[in-house]
C-alpha cells in the first residue's frame, strides 16, 4: 500500500508575495514623504523585507532577486552600483531567513530586523568607504532605522495576514 501526499510548491507560493512586496518597498523607498514639515525617507524598508524573507524559498532565485533589486535601487537612488546588492546579499547569507525552522513571531521578527540592520550598517560602512572614501551619515541612517522600526508592526501584521490568506486551509488548523 502506498501513501501519496500531494506536493505543495511552498517555494513559489512564498516567493511570489515576498518578491512583490520587496518590489513595492523598493519603489516606496525612493519616494519622499513629508510629515509635519519633515521629509522622511523609507530607504531601509527593502532591508526589512530581506531580513524577514519567507521560509523554503529557492535560494538561487532569492539571490538573483536580491542582486537585481539591489542594482535597481542603486539606479533609482543615484547610488554607486552594487552597494545595496552587496548589503542585501550579505544580510541574506548571514541571517539565512529562508532556513528558519519555525514560522515568524513578532519577537523573532524584531530580532531578525535588529541583526539585519547591524549587518547592513557594517556593510554600508565598508562599501561606502570603498566607493566614496567616507563614512555614512550616521544621523540619517539612525533616523531611517528608527522610522522603519515604527513601520515594523504594520509590515509584520500585513506579512502574517498575506501568509494566512495564501496558506492551505488544512494547514491553518495547525497554527
Amino acid at each position: 500500500m502506498t501513501f501519496v501526499t500531494p506536493h505543495i510548491n511552498t517555494s513559489s507560493r512564498n516567493f511570489i508575495p515576498a518578491s512583490l512586496s520587496l518590489f513595492v518597498c523598493v519603489f516606496l523607498s525612493v519616494l519622499h514623504i513629508n510629515i509635519a514639515g519633515e521629509s522622511i525617507s523609507l530607504l531601509l524598508l527593502p532591508l526589512l523585507i530581506v531580513s524577514l524573507w519567507p521560509r523554503e524559498v529557492n535560494t538561487v532565485v532569492t539571490i538573483g532577486t536580491f542582486f537585481v533589486i539591489g542594482i535597481f535601487l542603486d539606479w533609482g537612488t543615484n547610488g554607486v552600483l552594487g552597494q545595496w546588492a552587496i548589503v542585501y546579499l550579505t544580510v541574506f547569507a548571514i541571517l539565512r531567513p529562508n532556513r528558519r525552522d519555525h514560522s515568524l513571531s513578532f519577537f523573532n521578527a524584531v530580532s531578525l530586523w535588529c541583526a539585519g540592520l547591524a549587518i547592513a550598517t557594517v556593510m554600508l560602512i565598508i562599501t561606502g568607504w570603498l566607493a566614496y572614501g567616507v563614512l555614512p551619515n550616521f544621523t540619517t541612517l539612525f533616523r531611517q532605522a528608527l522610522l522603519i522600526c515604527a513601520f515594523m508592526p504594520v509590515v509584520v501584521f500585513t506579512r502574517n495576514l498575506v501568509r494566512y490568506a495564501l496558506m492551505d486551509p488544512q494547514d491553518r488548523d495547525y497554527l
Partner: protein, 294 residues
C-alpha cells in the same frame, strides 16, 4: 528532498559568489567616478519616475490635507501679514523701477552690457523621488529632454537653489542636491563679494571651502551663486552663513525651509570654453583666427 534544499548546496554558493563578486566589481569600478550610469540608468529613471509619481499621489493627498487644515487655521494671521508685505513691496517696487532706469542710463554712458544671466523662463517639474540616504542626496524630476531640461541646469525651489541637473532622460532628470558628497558650487558673499566653494559633505548644511579671506565671512551673511564655473548663472539665492560648534563655516540653505515637491529648472546655457567655441565656429564655416593672420 525538497526543492529549496536541493538548490541550497553548491549551486546556491556559486550563485551567491557570482552575484557578490559582480556587485563588488561594479562598486570598485565606479570608485571616485560614478560613470557606469549611462543609458541604462537614464532608462531606469524614465521607468521609475512615472511609477513613483503614481505611488506618490495618495501620499501627496494626505500631505495636502494636513497642510490645508494647518493653513486654514492660520488664514487670518497670514492675511494680515500678507497685507503688510504687499504695502512694503509696493514701496520697493517703486525703488526698483527707479534703479532700473538708473542702471540703464549708466549702461548707455559706459557702453556696457550688464545683463543678469538668470533666465526668465522656468521649467516647472515635480520632485517625484528624493533620496536623502546615508551617502547620496538627490532628486528625481519628472521633466527631461522633452521639456528642454539640460545637463547642469540649476534646480530651484521658491526659497532658493536646491542643486543642479546631473543626468537627463527623455521624460525624467536627476538633480544632485547641494548637500551631496559630489556637489561643488562656486558661491559669493553678497556683503563682501568674497568667493568660496560650497562643498557638499552629505549633511543638510554644506561646508564653505576654499575661502579667500575668512574675515570676510560672518554668520548671517547672504550667500549667492558666483557663476564662476560658467555652469550656473550668477545671483541665485543659496542661503545664509552659519558657524557650527567646530567653528566651521557652513551654509543654512534657503531650500531646507520646506520639503521639496514642486521645483523650477532654469534653462541656463553654460558658457563654453574658448576652444570649444572656436571648434564650433570652424564647424560652421567661420575661418579661425590664428597668430600669423595679417
Amino acid at each position: 528532498m525538497s526543492n529549496f534544499q536541493r538548490y541550497d548546496g553548491v549551486t546556491a554558493r556559486i550563485a551567491f559568489l557570482a552575484a557578490f563578486l559582480t556587485s563588488f566589481i561594479l562598486l570598485l569600478s565606479q570608485r571616485g567616478s560614478p560613470n557606469l550610469r549611462g543609458p541604462s540608468q537614464r532608462a531606469t529613471e524614465d521607468v521609475v519616475s512615472p511609477i513613483a509619481q503614481i505611488l506618490s499621489y495618495p501620499i501627496r493627498g494626505m500631505e495636502n490635507m494636513a497642510t490645508r487644515f494647518k493653513d486654514r487655521s492660520q488664514t487670518y494671521e497670514q492675511n494680515i501679514q500678507l497685507r503688510d508685505e504687499i504695502a512694503k513691496l509696493r514701496d520697493r517696487q517703486i525703488q526698483l523701477n527707479l534703479l532700473e532706469l538708473k542702471v540703464k542710463r549708466y549702461e548707455r554712458i559706459l557702453s556696457a552690457r550688464l545683463d543678469v544671466d538668470v533666465s526668465s523662463k522656468k521649467i516647472v517639474a515635480r520632485a517625484v523621488s528624493e533620496t536623502n540616504g546615508p551617502f547620496v542626496r538627490s532628486l528625481l524630476l519628472n521633466a527631461g529632454q522633452k521639456n528642454d531640461v539640460n545637463m547642469g541646469n540649476p534646480v530651484m525651489s521658491v526659497d532658493g537653489l536646491i542643486g543642479h541637473v546631473i543626468s537627463v532622460g527623455q521624460k525624467s532628470s536627476r538633480a544632485l542636491k547641494l548637500g551631496d558628497l559630489n556637489s561643488r558650487i562656486p558661491v559669493l558673499n553678497r556683503r563682501t563679494e568674497s568667493k568660496a566653494i560650497l562643498s557638499g559633505d552629505n549633511s543638510v548644511r554644506p561646508l564653505l571651502a576654499f575661502i579667500q579671506n575668512p574675515m570676510d565671512w560672518e554668520p548671517g551673511d547672504v550667500v549667492i551663486t558666483s557663476g564662476d564655473d560658467g555652469m550656473l548663472p550668477m545671483g541665485l539665492p543659496v542661503g545664509k552663513v552659519i558657524k557650527n560648534n567646530a567653528q566651521e563655516l557652513r551654509v543654512k540653505l534657503y531650500a531646507e525651509k520646506a520639503p521639496t515637491d514642486w521645483v523650477w529648472v532654469l534653462p541656463f546655457r553654460p558658457i563654453l570654453a574658448p576652444t570649444k567655441v572656436i571648434t564650433d565656429e570652424v564647424a560652421e564655416g567661420v575661418k579661425p583666427v590664428t597668430d600669423d593672420a595679417p
